[in-house]
Structures are given as C-alpha cells and as structure tokens.
C-alpha cells in the first residue's frame, strides 16, 4: 500500500464519489486550480460544469448549494477557510439545517461542505479559527473532523453519500501528513468514534489535529508506564457517546482536548456529557485542554501560546493522575 497525504486522500474521495454519481458536483472559490490541492485536477476529469469556480459570495453560493440539493443534485461545496463560513451562516443554520424539519421531512439536503480550519502558522485571527463549536447548537447539521488521511477519505465519502447537510473540517496543518489507506472502497461511518490508541489509566478524547498530538503524548508517557487511551470522536454530530462513556468507565478519568476555545467549545460540550452521564465512572474532574479564549494572534510565539499543545496535554494528564 502506498502512503497517501491528507490532501491527496480528500482528492481521492472527491474523485471516487464524483465518478459514482453524476449528480455530484464541486463548487467554491478557486476549486479549479485549488490552492490547497484538494480539488486539483478534478476539472480535467469532470469538466467545468461539475467543477465550478464561484464568485466571492459565500452566502450566494452556499445558498445555491442548498437550493441545488433540494432540487435533486448532490453538491460538494468548498468554503476555503472555516471563518469565511460566517459570511454564509444564515444559509447553513437557518436554511440547510432547518429546511428538512420545517418541511415536515419533505426536503432532503444531501450537501457536503468542506473547509480548512485551525492554526497553521501566522495566518492570524480571520484565517486560523476553529469554527465547529458554533454549529453544534444547530440541530440538522452533521459535523465531521477527520484527524488522518485514512479517516478524511472514509469520512468524506460517507459525508457525500449522506442525505443530510454535513460539514467536514479539514485541518490546514494536516495537509501533508501521510498514512496508508486501505485499497478499494474505503468508507468510515459518521457517528463512530475510533480508539486511536488503547490504554487503561485515562481517556484522552482528542479532536481533529489534536489527535496526533495526543498520540505523541501517549507514546511518551507509555515510557513511564502511564497508559493513555486516545479516543477520536471523528464526528462531533452525531457524537458516539457510547464509545466515550465505555472508555471512561474503564479508565475512570477523562480529558478532552480541542483546538477550539474553552467557552462554549466542543471540549465543554463533551465534558458536560461525560459529567452528566458518566459521573459515577469518574474518579476526578473532566479536564478540558483547549486553545485560550482569545482570537488567534499572528505572531508565532503568541500563536504557540494560544493553541493547545503537547505540553499542555501532558500536564493535564499528569495533573489528573497526580503523576
């Protein structure tokens, strides 16, 4: 098996699903040339009808994806950076998310939104944000945060086939990460967490780009006989609560690690769930390791101080275990 990068894995997923269904199409800003490479070459294979550069008009083209989905196609809509979603929140939150429900189940909205999120080195506050927390409270959406090439391929393919609006958050700093991807049809279901590393002493629930960081910390601590279980929820909505609670039942300690902010973030959401439904399993508080509650600063030392990192994950584990 060949090693595939995260960005190549996205490209493969798009290619395979576009081959499979002629009603799929890709649109977004500069998807033809593709700055990050995810949609590179698709226009050569599928032509300009199905690979469409849009104007810079997020509410317009995101809303067009909503209408196109309602009218029987399966749009794959790219929003370059997660924080540009803010320009199209009405179409995502008031329309895509609610139209099925408001129509009593008549509307079907098979849309996949893709975006790049997260800090990637000096991109500053408007290009580094982790924006999924804002969508958790919007019933009707599914939220996917793939942490590896294999996952991004399998999850994106599932997202495209899903008949609901799904937002896939691709971390900007994972693009060149490599992994072997199983050959043939590779699907990862939405709503199933993955134990990325089994362990006994503590459960670290890590999201997106925090997964490789948590794994490195787990590896390091293994040398000290601290056995860390790293659980990757893979999708935040639906959330695999069962897998999380099962793990915490085994380890009796939990930490949630997220690149988003603390206040109102995905880490708080998962921590609250554990504290409510898994209270009896817990031998200590559910710690949250997140980025600081400030806009992401530009200057590298400031950015570094803001984003959750291995040092803070390790410290939280040690504190939780009194080790």
């Amino acid at each position: 098996m060949a090693m595939t990068t995260y960005v190549q894995a996205i490209n493969e997923a798009l290619r395979e699903e576009m081959e499979r269904d002629p009603l799929t199409f890709v649109m977004g800003e500069d998807v033809v040339l593709s700055a990050f490479g995810a949609t590179k070459g698709l226009v050569d294979r599928f032509g300009p009808e199905r690979v469409r550069n849009t104007p810079i008009a997020e509410a317009g083209f995101v809303g067009a994806a909503v209408g196109a989905a309602m009218a029987g196609t399966r749009p794959i809509c790219e929003v370059e950076f997660a924080s540009f979603f803010y320009c199209a929140f009405d179409q995502v939150c008031n329309q895509a998310a609610k139209l099925r429900y408001m129509s009593g189940g008549q509307a079907k909205l098979p849309i996949t939104f893709r975006c790049v999120y997260g800090a990637m080195g000096g991109a500053a506050a408007q290009h580094s944000e982790t924006v999924y927390a804002q969508f958790l409270s919007v019933p009707g959406l599914k939220i996917v945060v793939p942490s590896s090439p294999s996952d991004v391929k399998g999850l994106l393919k599932s997202a495209i086939r899903d008949d609901n609006p799904v937002i896939v958050f691709e971390h900007g700093a994972l693009g060149r990460q490599r992994e072997e991807i199983p050959p043939g049809e590779h699907l990862v279901p939405l709503g199933k967490a993955a134990i990325k590393r089994p362990g006994d002493n503590i459960t670290v629930i890590a999201i997106g780009a925090m997964v490789p960081k948590a794994l490195r910390v787990a590896e390091k601590l293994a040398g000290e006989n601290i056995s860390v279980e790293v659980l990757d929820p893979r999708t935040l909505v639906p959330l695999d609560e069962e897998a999380i609670l099962r793990s915490v039942e085994k380890t009796n300690r939990a930490i949630v690690v997220d690149e988003g902010h603390l206040r109102g973030g995905a880490a708080s959401d998962i921590a609250a769930m554990i504290a409510e439904k898994g209270f009896d399993f817990l031998d200590g508080p559910v710690k949250r390791v997140t980025s600081l509650d400030v806009p992401i600063p530009f200057s590298p030392p400031l950015e570094k101080a803001t984003i959750a990192d291995e040092g803070r994950i390790e410290a939280a584990i040690r504190e939780a275990l009194g080790a």
Binding site: E49, A57, G67, A71, M102, S103
Partner: protein, 324 residues
Amino acid sequence: MDIGKDLLLEMYRAMVRIRLFEGKVRDLATANEIPGFVHVSIGEEASAAGVCAALRKTDRITSTHRGHGHLIAKGGRLAEMMAEIYGKRTGYCKGKGGSMHIVDFNLGILGANGIVGAGLPIATGSALAAVIAKRDDVTVCFFGDGASNEGTFHESLNLAAIWKLPVVYVCENNGFGEFTPMQTVTSVKDIAVRAQAYGIPGYVVDGNDVLEVYRYASEAVARARAGEGPTLLECKTYRWEGHVVGEQAFLGSGAYRTEQEINEWKARCPLVRFQKFAAESGKIDAAELKRIEEETAAELDAAVKFARESPLPAPSEVAEDVYV
C-alpha cells in the same frame, strides 16, 4: 400574445383562491384560532397568479414569509395549507412549519421562508440543479422590495447571470418592508433598474394586471428555458392588509400609511380588473367567473373543516424529521 380561455380562467381561479383563502386566514388569526405570525398578500394576487400561469408543474418556485399566494398559484392544496397553518399533523409540514414555512415538493414549491432574502440563493441553486441534471425546468424566485436590499439579492443575480441559469427573479414591490416605506431605505425608485448591475434584462410590470404579469413572465420563462439566463421582473403592487395580522393592536391604525393610499390601491383590485377585462373582451361570461368563486368558496370551507377536524401532532413526533 393571445391567451387562451382555459388559461385565463385558471389565472382568475388562482386569484380567487388566494383572495378567499387569505381573507379567511386573516379572520382566523384575528380570532386567535391560528397561532404565530401570519402575513397575507391580499391585493397582490395578480403577480402570483400571472407568474405561476407561465410555469409547468415540474418548474419550481421559492417564496417568502408572505407566501400563501405563491403557493396557491403553483397549485398548493388549500386543505393541507390550512391544516399546516393550524399546526395540524395533516398539514403540508405535519405542523412543524406553519404559515411561514409551507413546502410542497411534489408541486415544485421549495418553500415559503421566514428569512427575508434567503430564497434568492436557494432559487438560484435550484436553477443550477437543472443545469447539472440536464433538465429543462425553470425556477421562479418571489421576493419583496425589502429583500432586494439584502446582500443575497446581489450575490444571487450575479451568480445566475454569469452561469446563465434558468431562473426568473420576481420582485413584488408593494412599497413597504414591514412599516418602513420602500423609498426611505432603497436607493432606486425601480428595483428593475438593478438588473443593469448584472447585465440582464429587467422590467417594471404592472403587478395588479394579471395579463401583463403573465406576458412578461412567459417571456422570461421562455428565455430561461432556452438557456439564455435570468430576468428580473418588478411587479408594482400593494398589500391591502397590514404587514402582519394584528399589527393595529400595537401600532394603532394609520401609523405608516393613509386610508386614502390604501383605498386608491383597492380601486385597482386585480380581481375586479380581470372581471372588467372579461366583460369588455367578451371572452368570458360573468357566470363562469361566478362559478369559480362559488367552487372556491366551497373548496375553502372544506379546507377549514379539514383543518379544524384534523388531529394535532403528538408530542412524540417532535423528534422526527431532523435528519433523513
């Protein structure tokens, strides 16, 4: 353009169905028999009826918070509409949508919408779907003068223009957005002028003349279907009733427009105008119109009965229909 008799009667029927249905809805809302915010379009029937008469069943529309008229003109069934407005399980949306969110997918009605301007990109995307799927259906987007100041208007018309999408944008300019006179918040007198910003045709249409509306709409729909791109039609019209049923309770009457203005527009009633045309052209017998009115009254009575007698949804249904 010669309009056949069947089509003429169909348009009149649509206007009568809207007029009677909305009058009833207004009365029921006033009597607190209907919950929520209700917006009626009485006085504006000709634009809905004239435009939808130019469409096929497989064509699609998007509508607004003031959507009953568009839905009825596209073929919406009064019983399921009324049941929805009552919040009954037998309504179009099983009671989950209400007046502002009625949808009938089988009739190409993608939905009323509570968010001003939100239908514009959705209609644009619906037209894009026809291109992607290589079908020749057309989408009509109804929206108000107020909505024409939303950014979605701009983004949508630009998108439709560059991609030559099969969509017709129908602005119903009734002179007000809520209680604000259009000219105090809109930089042009005629919304149709804005078509120039997209290099597409834009026309001012007498929105109270169903025949004129039909003619402009037919041409725009034909252009769209032929792959020649979008058109902007501005139907000048007026709503006789308040923005929302019951507004007098908190605004007082005469708060933002005069009785005189309202009466002037009532004198231009689209139904009466059609009746005059029928009589003067000699094409249609008054008795035929009368029969349509009677049939519609009966249809409406049945619809109200159906809605009243239908069951409310069970609380357990609340969790259904969020996801497929």
